[in-house]
Amino acid sequence: MTGIVIKIGVDKIIKNLGKGAGLYTFLCILALLFFVVGKYGNNPSSAPEEPSVFTPIFLEYDQQYEERLPAFEDAKVHRVYKLAEGRYGFLVTEMGYESEILFFIEVGEDAIEHVDVLSNQETADYGGYVTETWFLDRLLLSTEEKLKVVRYRKKNENEVVAITGATQTSKAAVKAVNRCIDKRGDIKNDETI
């Protein structure tokens, strides 16, 4: 389609240049320029954009997990892999307090099975604890309902006690998990159709 448009435009320009139809020619040239610059100016390829700092990690995981489900990926859920029957892995980014955090989250039939932090630049004494097992274990809950961050004490099953002094980072982790819960639901729905 693009080639056809350019060809027609160029043909017209040449033809009208020869005939001396100035304004008409000018408009065609302008339109052609707009089209080309607007479409391709900042994006030389048509591939979807990804945070470049995480691309090596994505590629590494692509090599590790063969079955990828791009139909379920989006701007935050960068990779969806089928790990086994009823078990899926997600590479998810979420904004913490200081930085974008990259998680790898494994979701089983009805529970969060595993959470890893692959990249973060949170402050050491605050959100930096997001990589600690004692915090990540708190996210290993049922996928029956979305998780919620609380402080100091949990009263319900779907609650996650925040890292002391790092509520925002904790919320980022919970958001990432909740995205995976949604995606898992989408996959289940797709399987039943």
Binding site: F34, G41, W134, R151, Y152, R153, G165
Partner: protein
Amino acid sequence: MTKQFRRILVLLMTCAMLMTGCQSADSQTAKTAETTSAPAAAEQTTEGVSLHYEGSLKFTGMAEPFEVAYDDIYAMPFVETSVHSVSSSGEEADNTVKGVLLETILAEHGMSQKDFSTIRLIAGDGYAIDVTADLLNNKDIVLAYEFDGAALEEKEMPLRAAIDDVRSMYYVSNLVEIAAISEGVEAMESVPARMVMLETAYASGIETEPFTYYESEDKSVLMSDLVDAYVSEGKGNPAFKANDGFEKSEDYDVVYNGYLKITGEDAPLFTGKDLPKGMNVKSVMTLGVGDTTFISVGSALAYGQMNGTVGDVEGIKLIDALTAAGIEGDLFKFSDNTGYEVEITKEELASGILRLSDDGTAAAKFDESMPKKYNVKHLLTIEAVAGEATMEAADVSETTDTANVSTEGTDGDAAVELPEWTVTFDGLSDGSFDLTSEKAARKLTLISLHTEHTKNDEKKPNDWEGYRVLEMLEFLHVEDFSALVITAGDGYEVELPKDQIDEDTILAVIKNGEPVKADNLVQLVQNTEFSTTWVKGVVKITVK
């Protein structure tokens, strides 16, 4: 295709290309805006170029509150100075800051920072710190917009406080408000009259709640419960002292709505549900609220500056503890958590310490020259009282090998000096418990029992004084039992089923006005016809 038609077609395609190109350009611009971090409403510059930040710094609590636009602050005469700070972990930092003195801004409104006893620096996220008179009178407070030649980071904008040679907690970023707590007049505060031992308070009816602190599952109490239970009057600005020397005052409402984490790392630790972590106070040693000072004996011991010993028992000197709590007086009433009270003079305090008992509660311990009744277990409060001592200390002229416990006769007779004894209660839900004569004298009621038992066909009347076994069981929180095994020192045992234990079953210590015999000390006595169950020399009672 006619010429006209071709021209129309080309025009339509031209419009389509224009729209497509513009849409792509818009989406690129939007994506660029999302992925790059634009400075927030401020043009970060260095010297020579003007700063800009939307909004104004609020000054509240004054007689006439006012606001100053940040841009106006940036345009004011500035200072550039070196400052030194220390973090809570001991890390030191030296910076060169550039900004406007608080004094400069206040002067424009006819005020000085020395007019205030306390000002509160408040950040946009709610973090706040009180700057008290000792700093206000002696230090410059710089509202800085540059640190070490560089503009503040976005999160620190528009201003960051800087004071030389103080803790870094005063370096409040994202400064949005400066609140005067009082204006030229000393805030009305209650003089502390009471010291509450936190460790005993926790064990005395204050509800504890689970509290997750990093990876640890600890316990906490609500500050409101402590304040409501023990503070009689006054609010003021609660004052914290931690055992590393850290001191700060805090807003009353912040304290009242906060928590005290009482177990685990950094305990006692003050925090609040939505309080920034920087406002937490770790290892609280004392907390003054109104007319009450709460003290953590454990934290004070860790402080190490008030330690003392009585014999081989370590604790904190009573005199020093009361001084730290700001409690003055000539006479003090010591109260435990059962209502027991004893008055002790200021002079006598010098012989005593505060210590932690095995059960974690606080206790007073005095040296042997002092009456034993001063050694209050489960010590809850020490209160300054007016007047002279109403209870005279018992006369102790010599130290004897076996310390005596005085027991007043129930009919008002002169006290009978009794030898010390211990009966071990076994089979309790939490193990065993040694009930001593001293404990019994303080915690239990000495009752009289008249018996007339039959021996060798003769009626033998006796008047006993002792402690009800059922009251002992109640004191030990024995809710139910099926039988008691009474064991004597020589191994002799009697098992009494529950239905044989009644209000007249006592451990007697006095018989006909005299202590029970030296080799007996404690005798189980019942108001029964025969004395077959009257075990002499009881040393143990096993609860079944």
